[in-house]
Amino acid sequence: MDLELSESELAFQAEARAWLAANVPAEPLPSLDTAEGFVLHQEWEAKLAADRWSVVSWPKDYHGREASLIEWIIFEEEYYRAGAPLRVSQNGIFLLAPIIFEHGTQDQQDRFLPTMATAERVWAQCWSEPEAGSDLASLKSTARRDDDRGGWVLNGQKIWCSRAALAHWGFGLFRSDPQAQKHAGLTYFLFPLDAEGVTVRPIAQLDGEEGFAEVFFDDVFVPDADVLGAPGDGWRVAMSTAGNERGLSLRSPGRFTAAADRLLALYDERPDARVADRVVDAWIKAEAYRLYTWGTVTKLAKSDRGGDIGNDLNLRGSVNKVWWSELDVALHETALDLLGPDAELESRWLDGYTFSLSGPIYAGTNEIQRNIVAERILGLPREAKGAQQ
């Protein structure tokens, strides 16, 4: 055990803290799921990128500063502590970029990563389908080969596409081999959301905003150059370790320690002995998550030095997902109990609360994550018929 930060890490931390203090908007930006807020968030990302803070761990050629994992975590903690805006580009930088780095061609990296770093191009994740909410193996949208044009023709429907209402490009899996079963025969595609044949229908959320959309594909042509990884290999590509590392596995603890800090501040304003125990409990859980993440980072750093803990990491990702999503709900419920009747009146906590409800549902429901933990970490037998919910 050695929890000291090195000189250079401390310097990095100081630099990030100073920059954020100087640049984070005093007033929270309008929601990034509104047209106005979307643009303002793009501008914020551009500002981050200009000073190389939007993707600190990326290569210098792509607006990064080749920061270490530890530095990345440090930056995330500072970012949330500073109350900086949500990342409008998160689908791209956290979910898609790692896959492009691992499976993308040089051409794809050069074409897609720089504009992703500046949020000039914002990406939507087109993952679920109406009949396949949690069950990606049963995706029905199709990709038909078109040799004449040297590409594929997409048809079908995706749902719960986050950011799709306002984003520019999307990524998702399509069934390119109708014969193949379940996970086989899927191909990973990148496509502009204004391409001919694409229809985007926003989904109004319970908070009244439109963070998700349905996307319909009617003979949408995608050139081979925009296929990520090998045709038919989409499942493996999508599930590759990298896809999770900086996404699920390292879902920034900073977000929750910052929320815990806000909860403590709220308690100062409105102390209530009857709620104190839960306030402390939430603080403790946020801290435990932060510490657990340092353990993950240590393993990751090792693997970057050659150790193979990819699977272990994915599994930690499932543990994390259950943890942070349920912690996030508890944090907000506790805050609303402190607010009492005022909680009913619109407030930042209330928005956060409604938003937190989606945590246990998206990116693989917590039921699925628990199945994964039980079967793949604890080695418990799979359900009869290998059914997994």
């Binding site: 909410g133 959320q205 009244g208 009492g340 909680a343 009146l345 409604t354 998206y362 039921e367 919910q389």
Partner: protein, 330 residues
């Protein structure tokens, strides 16, 4: 000893449910919640004229039906099941406050109007007042006095749950008339409010569970109805058990408050028990409802979020569960 609805009470519940099934479906509730008035005036008129929901607990001498608060709670449990916005909660609390604290003159003057369907409310603190902007009779407890307020300026404040109407009262140009004993009125109002919320919460929890069960029977994932997955079954079984217990507690509380012979401490304990337990049950049922519906639950079109928001609102109107437990004398 008969711990179940009497035939009359069961018929009352069935009548109300039948009416609400027809007139308070999802579309109607959404329309009413977002309407100018924030509730369905026609439905309210029917409830008052045909069923006399505001008259149930009003004695016959004041033109009421002359049954008890228990019957009103039976109606509230049905209303809770629909999420329909309704002035009945505020009006019931005001009615009981008047019966407990108002002078004979005030009772003679106000109760018949309520029995006839006028909306009433009572402000127990400085915060936003339930139905404060649509009540025709506005009461308040000021110090030891029960006062009637005329000419207050009410400003609607938007709440997360649009089916619950809150308004701030500006008394600058208002006329306040003392009409009775504020302490008695407050004590009764707080207990009746808590029991009424418990009844609403039981109905809501029951409805949330039904929604969840029905959906999980239909929704197929991984080749099975998700309702066949044991982890989900056990969670729904827990909700069922809690709903059953909460209903028992709620009925006992309303009965105790309606029964003059019940010891006051016993009635208070039963009321705080019911509120604490029913509100927590509704919250649990609502969050399972959201979680088990998955993505569609967080869409505007789906009713899951209405259920969830109502469950949260109920915890704030007359005290959160932990405050009700704190109110129980140890």
């Amino acid at each position: 000893m008969q711990f179940e609805l009497s035939e009359d009470q069961a018929e009352l519940a069935a009548t109300v449910r039948g009416l609400l099934d027809k007139r308070a479906d999802s579309a109607a509730v959404r329309a009413a919640s977002t309407s100018e008035q924030g509730y369905d005036e026609a439905l309210w008129a029917t409830l008052c004229e045909q069923i006399g929901v505001t008259a149930l607990a009003v004695p016959e001498e004041y033109d009421g039906v002359g049954v008890t608060f228990f019957e009103t709670a039976v109606v509230l449990e049905e209303l809770g099941r629909t999420i329909a916005p309704s002035p009945l909660l505020a009006t019931t609390v005001a009615t009981e406050a008047l019966l407990a604290g108002a002078s004979d003159e005030a009772k003679k003057r106000l109760l018949p109007r309520i029995a006839a369907g006028e909306i009433a409310t009572i402000a127990l603190d400085e915060g936003a007042v339930l139905d404060g902007d649509r009540a025709e009779i506005v009461l308040a407890v000021r110090g030891d006095d029960l006062v009637e307020i005329a000419g207050a300026t009410a400003t609607w404040v938007e709440a997360m749950d649009q089916s619950v109407r809150l308004a701030r009262l500006d008394l600058t140009d208002a006329e306040l008339t003392v009409i009775g004993d504020g302490r008695a009125a407050r004590e009764r109002a707080e207990l009746v409010g808590a029991a009424a919320v418990a009844a609403l919460a039981v109905g809501l929890a029951d409805r949330a569970l039904r929604m969840t069960v029905d959906y999980s029977k239909e929704r197929v994932q991984f080749g099975r109805a998700i309702g066949s997955f044991q982890a989900l079954k056990h969670r729904m079984a827990d909700v069922l058990a809690r709903v059953e217990m909460a209903r028992s507690a709620s009925w006992a509380a309303s009965y105790a408050l309606a029964d003059a012979d019940t010891d006051a401490d016993e009635a208070a304990f039963l009321t705080h028990s019911a509120a604490s337990y029913a509100i927590e049950t509704a919250a649990l049922a609502a969050s399972e409802c959201v979680q088990l519906h998955g993505g569609i639950a967080i869409t505007w079109e789906h009713d899951a979020h209405l259920v969830f928001k109502r469950a949260h609102a109920l915890g704030q109107l007359f005290g959160a569960p932990h405050r009700h437990r704190a109110a129980v004398a140890l």
